[in-house]
């Protein structure tokens, strides 16, 4: 068997998380209009200012068109055929895990995310979002002792309306883009995190997103606020069952870091990517943005994107405070007929701001993998620097890797440095490692992990192990 064939075989590992949980859903009509928006707000018993936010966003969205500029092709989405809200039927107030549907607990168990605190990884608090609602948040008390608030955004709207009023939409306004407007109108749940002044979060916070309902989309909204001199590390994981129809995932994530605060946000995205003929899979359209509001603040995004039929995602940092830092570390893997158009925007507004971009794209099968990055250094952002590296690796000769860097420096004391390489995973590299006694699978995974090393080392330990495994599964057999 030729190496290319073996690699293809390895890539074709079945999706492990494709099962569906059978639970009852509350009935909810399809489509998107003002009534739907009001209905969501009613169900969630929201204060008037949130309903107002949703309605303004909806009216704005209704006037917009789908963005068509990304280097991805997909069938036009019929928004009338999507259920914009989906919740498992459950008791209105969850006070403990005992009240969560056992089927749902079992689902998370199967996904390797046990929600009972005895079984949890020590040091990681989890918010579990199932379709449109948060079903459980663990370690709440321990976090509360340290003063850290970690809960679902629905709960935060009720308990901390002032923070929500001040910050929701302050980083990603609903006018930002088509999907951000849609999300602002219908967002169902998501995580909220507030770290007070001077506090270092005693544990990693994480949210685990699961889409279970075939008819629905998932529209979550996450807001993280780090006050002066605080630190938080946040992880996000995603999976979905295998359905033959596409599902829409349109999230908004907003991060705010005040003076000297640091936020580290990591994602391992493994949504179902469709079968090898391109049937089914998640359309993943996400707006993630962090605001370094205070001086000497720092926001880093680390992402490992291995799933979704289509990914459209540019986690960005606006460096407003002087001496603030933005970082983006990314591994994006595409296979079969997947398409990914991902990258980042680094907007330098303050003086002496620094940004780093490390992007690793791996394309196999007939997939298309694009990096799109914008670095803008404003006229007042004197003495600022950006350093970007975008490396692509091709597996086989039917896939494509593309790089679209946009660089603008509007003052002459700043510098922008961009490097890009494209390589093919070589038969000779694999043979070399096999000649040293490693089997082909091992050889390929060593090469890929070597290629992604700079990104993996940014991930928290448990996630790094998970990411290495995921890549192995995704690319098994596909390299030659």
């Amino acid at each position: 068997m030729s190496d290319t064939q073996t690699i293809e075989k390895l890539v074709k590992q079945p999706y492990k998380y494709g099962f569906k949980t059978n639970i009852e859903y509350e009935h909810f009509p399809k489509g998107l209009n003002e009534d739907i928006v009001n209905l969501i707000s009613d169900i969630k018993e929201e204060p008037a200012f949130v309903r107002e936010f949703r309605l303004k966003a909806y009216r704005h969205w209704a006037k917009m068109k789908d963005p068509l500029w990304a280097n991805i092709r997909y069938p036009r989405i019929n928004y009338d055929d999507i259920q914009f809200y989906s919740a498992p039927r459950l008791k209105p107030q969850l006070n403990s895990l005992d009240e969560v549907d056992p089927e749902i607990l079992d689902t998370y168990e199967k996904l390797g995310i046990p929600l009972s605190e005895q079984k949890m990884l020590a040091g990681v608090a989890v918010d579990a979002v199932f379709d449109s609602v948060s079903v459980a948040t663990t370690f709440k008390e321990k976090l509360a002792d340290a003063g850290v608030v970690f809960c679902s955004i629905s709960e935060a709207i009720k308990k901390y309306p002032d923070l929500i009023k001040e910050y929701m939409g302050s980083v990603v306004p609903y006018t930002d883009n088509f999907y951000a407007a849609m999300n602002s109108a219908v967002f169902s749940d998501g995580s909220f995190c507030y770290v007070p002044k001077g506090v270092v979060s005693p544990m990693e916070l994480s949210t685990y997103f699961r889409i279970n309902n075939e008819e629905s989309g998932q529209f979550e909204r996450t807001l993280i606020i780090a006050e002066e001199d605080s630190y938080v590390s946040y992880l996000e994981g995603c999976t979905a069952p295998m359905f033959s129809r596409n599902q829409l995932h349109a999230a908004v994530v907003e991060l705010v870091a005040l003076d000297r605060a640091q936020i580290k946000y990591s994602t391992v995205q493994n949504w179902y990517s469709g079968d090898e003929k391109g049937v089914g899979g998640i359309f993943n359209f996400v707006t993630k943005r962090g605001l370094c509001k205070g001086h000497h603040s720092k926001i880093s995004w680390t992402q490992v994107e291995t799933g979704s039929a289509i990914t459209w995602k540019y986690p960005s940092v606006i460096m407003k405070g002087d001496h603030s830092t933005g970082e983006f570390y990314s591994v994006a893997v595409t296979n079969d007929l997947m398409e990914a158009d991902t990258g980042t925007k680094m907007i330098h507004l303050g003086k002496n701001t620094n940004s780093t971009i490390i992007s690793k794209g791996i394309a196999a099968g007939k997939s298309q993998n694009s990096y799109r990055g914008l670095v803008r250094i404003g006229p007042k952002a004197e003495y600022s620097r950006n350093y970007s590296v975008c490396d692509s690796m091709l597996i086989g000769d039917r896939c494509g890797a593309h790089t679209f860097p946009y660089l603008e420096a509007k003052n002459n004391t700043s510098s922008v440095e961009h490097e890009a390489t494209t390589s093919k995973i070589g038969e000779d590299q694999i043979f070399y490692l096999q000649q040293r006694g490693l089997d082909e699978e091992n050889a390929v995974s060593l090469i890929i992990n070597g290629f992604c090393k700079e990104v993996f080392k940014e991930l928290p330990m448990e996630f790094a192990v998970e990411a290495v495994k995921l890549l192995g599964i995704k690319l098994e057999g596909s390299v030659g």
Binding site: Y432, Q435, D439, E440, G450
Partner: protein, 256 residues
């Protein structure tokens, strides 16, 4: 240990090896010489199992087993080692990681427990000394940014770590400075004793001053045109390859 009979091999439809017969016994050193493009590297790669080369005829028996039936990694674990003429770079993978993985594969094959990173560090320290290499080489990525000579030395370091039964050394001497040549040769001599055998591809008689071959074979256009003792290398140095082809062409054609 190794017997090659009537070996024919092609790459992309072109026949490169046109009937090789070769017998290598434990403890022997065989030098393979011959003009550029005659098929020396091809022979080594076919023995190691490179997927681009297709064997169309003949057989290779290694320690009583059909070598052609084995995957390249299986051959390696059974003790076949190739030092490459052009070692590839593997970005992001450290030398120590690769060598430890490789060595642990061999240990597994022999039913031994794997070494952890600290144990391996101890094990490798002696080998580094043997080849007069700095321990810092272990933390660098495999061959990345190595000079030509360093790459060659790194190949022999891996050989020292893995202690192979059959070492196929493809122009390991090219690109080495005078001191390195002596050091590497001493390393090879240590390994070539007793149970193990070496097939050494070279253009220069120079290395044969340090490593005394039991046999010298001259490969021309995919065939072994002449075999002899170490004096054959000296004759070649003096007369060049024309001298061989001129007289074997007659014998070769007449005999077939």
């Amino acid at each position: 240990m190794l017997s090659i009979r009537n070996l024919h091999a092609e790459v992309e439809g072109v026949e490169i090896l046109k009937g090789i017969d070769l017998e290598i016994k434990a403890g022997e050193v065989h030098a393979i010489m011959g003009p550029n493009g005659s098929g020396k590297s091809t022979l080594a790669k076919v023995l190691a199992g490179h997927p681009s080369y297709e064997v169309t005829e003949g057989e290779i028996i290694y320690n009583g087993e059909d070598l052609l039936e084995m995957e390249p990694d299986e051959r390696a674990r059974r003790g076949v080692f190739m030092a490459f003429q052009y070692p590839v770079e593997i970005p992001g993978v450290s030398n120590s990681m690769l060598m430890r993985e490789a060595y642990n594969e061999v240990r597994k094959e022999h039913g031994l427990d794997p070494l952890d990173p600290l144990e391996f560090e101890d094990y490798v320290a002696d080998k580094l000394k043997l080849l007069d290499m700095d321990v810092r080489f272990m933390d660098r990525n495999v061959n990345a940014g190595f000079s030509g000579g360093e790459k060659k030395r790194n190949e022999i370091l891996q050989m020292a770590v893995l202690n192979p039964r059959l070492a196929l050394l493809d122009e390991t001497d090219s690109g080495l400075d005078i001191d390195a040549l002596r050091i590497v040769s001493e390393g090879i001599n240590k390994l070539a004793s007793g149970e193990n055998a070496v097939m050494l591809v070279t253009h220069y008689q120079r290395i044969l001053n340090y490593i005394t071959p039991d046999f010298v074979h001259v490969l021309v256009r995919g065939r072994i045109h002449r075999s002899g003792g170490k004096e054959l290398a000296l004759e070649l140095e003096e007369h060049g390859y024309d001298w061989i082809t001129a007289d074997t062409e007659v014998n070769g054609e007449a005999g077939s």
